[in-house]
């Protein structure tokens, strides 16, 4: 095996690092916690201006999954707000793969320039893990589609330009077959957005669709082919767009605090820290493996599930022991005097639980591994 990045990728990484140094200021990192929006428009614009988004987007430019992994890993390790960017790039890749020429021209430039964000409307109040059972309806009316229903957890809907929306278009087909995906502007009449505040500061949304009218040009992929579009989205995510090294900045913040407060010499703390550092290495190697499989022409879907299960629990372990070790200082929030890790210890204890929920829960991922990797019979 070879673990060295090619010189080209090293150059790319160094460029990302220099952009991070310039654009991921403490103010920007802090802003995500006051606005509840995990996105940095100025960073996106700079990445877009330099052609990096086009270069990293699968199917466009260079589309090297190793570079994609490197970019998001660097952003994540730096504690940058990158969620908006990850979703937008993923959807740009799907439009590029499944969209019509007209859609590509209309939508992709706005994303790879770093200007437009995308929000995803799949989950509903009553259907999360069982997302194929969603009820939001799209009905054909002449040349148009009329959409009615509601979605839950439509993160970034308050700032996004585009919405990718999973609907039911045929009630007679089996649940995975009667679905159609749309992509439409968020300012289309009939869409209402209501904030949902969360434990981890992020503000997500409930969204409503009342007689929302769109044309055929809003259908992404085939009519009744929505499930294929869903799986394409997941395939592009591949577990390489961040979300696997969230413990790295936490450990750094905790360590600074522990050293400054003279508590880092405690053997229990040193051992726990060392073990979390092992976890972070393993998480990044598993992520790199997914990227490498994708770069070699494979589809690392299952490997993505494996990486996520491990990486998320590793982050949760780190968050648990750092807070427990910090004691009262681990309860203090950002900007409070004496807060452990400048408040990150407290924040990560609130943020880490969501990681085993969104983007497919840990149980769903374990089902996946059990059935597809171990070949055990379906349990549901």
């Amino acid at each position: 095996m070879d673990f060295a990045l090619s010189s080209e990728v090293v150059e790319f990484r160094d460029e990302i690092r220099s952009i991070i140094r310039e654009f991921v200021t403490p103010e920007i990192a802090d802003r995500m916690h006051t606005t509840g929006v995990f996105d940095a428009p100025e960073l996106n614009l700079e990445l877009g201006r330099r052609g990096i988004l086009e270069r990293a987007c699968p199917g466009l430019g260079k589309g090297d999954p190793i570079e994609m992994y490197v970019m998001f890993n660097e952003l994540e390790k730096a504690g940058a707000p990158y969620d908006g960017l990850a979703v937008a790039l993923m959807i740009a890749a799907v439009v590029n793969k499944l969209g019509t020429d007209e859609q590509k021209e209309r939508i992709i430039p706005s994303i790879i320039s770093g200007e437009a964000l995308v929000c995803m409307g799949y989950s509903e109040a009553d259907f999360g893990s069982d997302v194929a059972s969603i009820k939001t309806r799209a009905i054909k009316d002449g040349d148009e589609w009329v959409i009615n229903g509601s979605k839950m957890w439509t993160t970034l809907a308050q700032v996004a330009e585009w919405l990718i929306l999973l609907t039911r278009t045929d009630l007679d087909l089996p649940k995975h077959k009667g679905l159609t995906m749309f992509i439409l502007p968020m300012n289309t009449p009939g869409i209402t957005v209501e904030p949902v505040h969360t434990l981890g500061t992020e503000i997500t949304n409930a969204t409503w669709y009342d007689d929302v009218r769109v044309g055929d040009d809003a259908v992404l992929g085939d009519e009744n082919g929505g499930w294929r579009t869903m799986t394409t989205v997941l395939a592009f995510e591949r577990g390489v767009m961040g979300g696997t090294n969230a413990g790295v900045p936490l450990l750094r913040h905790f360590h600074e605090w522990a050293v400054a407060n003279g508590v880092f010499d405690e053997p229990t703390t040193r051992e726990r820290m060392a073990r979390s550092i092992i976890d972070m290495q393993v998480a990044t190697l598993l992520t790199m493996r997914s990227a490498w499989i994708a770069a070699s022409g494979g589809m690392p879907g299952l490997e993505g599930s494996m990486t996520k299960v491990f990486a998320v629990e590793a982050y949760q372990r780190a968050s648990r022991w750092t807070q427990a070790t910090a004691g009262p200082a681990g309860l203090l929030q950002f900007h409070e005097e004496g807060a452990a890790g400048e408040g990150f210890v407290e924040y990560d204890a609130r943020h880490s639980p969501v990681m085993s929920i969104y983007g497919g829960t840990t149980e769903i991922n374990r089902n996946n591994i059990a059935e597809r990797h171990l070949g055990l019979p379906k349990s549901r």
């Binding site: 673990f3 010189s7 494996m306 070949g375």
Partner: protein, 341 residues
Amino acid sequence: MSVDLGLSPDQESIAELFNGFFSNEAPPAVARAAEPLGFDRELWNKVIELGAPGMGCAVEIGGGGASLGDLVVVAETVGRSIAPIPLIDHLAALSVLSDADLVAGEVIAAVAVRPADANGIWSLVPAGAVADVVIGVDGDETVVVRSTPPMSGPRNHGSMPLADRSAREGSRTVLGPASLFEVVLNRWKLLTAAALVGIAEAAKELGVAYVKERTQFGVPVGSFQAVQHGLADLPVAIDGGRLLTHKAAWALDNVTDGLIDWANNEITDGSTLATMAFLFAADGAVMATDRSLHYHGGYGFAEEYDIQMYYRRARGWSLILGDSTSVGLSLADRLFGTVEG
């Protein structure tokens, strides 16, 4: 140079050769028959024919010229089969020893993984019961001693050929300062990590096969989600351990002045990675054998079933280096520097 996380075609052949060899020559019944000592001379003679003992030595001295990555592949097959031969210890010792009889495997070498005590005794040396040559640290020197192996030792959890050996009696050569031993110990940790990954892999396979076959309530127990989820963690730990072990091998072979920049998760220092791989693989092997044994129900506890042999070795092969806290703290020293005072 660019990222390549697959085995090379050569390594694929090595894996096939050794997996095939061990499944023919060393099915679990062989490990069972070799208990409690944990050594099968006949099997050792057969691996000599494969050229395994000198595999990692230079071709000019009759070795196989294998890379550390190649040796990792071999070590994993040793773990998978729990073959009762001290191949890992021998390969590790030969990182610095090159006597012709050792390269040929006519004479077996062991690694005293912990320094000698004040009386010059290396306690509980893995493979110490059967090795003719022992390498280790005595005071501030790395020494190698040839003496007659006792061919017996204390009965132990992992059915390993452990024995106390003297660092001073017998034919003793000083190789250099104690620091020289780091190369040997790194290789021992690395190959042991790979063997522990092999143990975890075998435990996973035994467990999965069992739960597909065993039925209760009219269905295979492997269709129960609680069982599935317990097993689903195993391939993750195995793949993670394998990647980390190979990264350590890559770094030890290719990287000088590697990074220990944990704050940015950039670690390319081979020695640090070898200890990380050792700790991670040890945890993985313990977890995999725990769970696999558990999902065997009562039968896993029966001596007649193979999983209990893996369960004991997962602990034996890792704890022989030292308690896991001390090993964890030695890693901490490397990552953060030592604590003063």
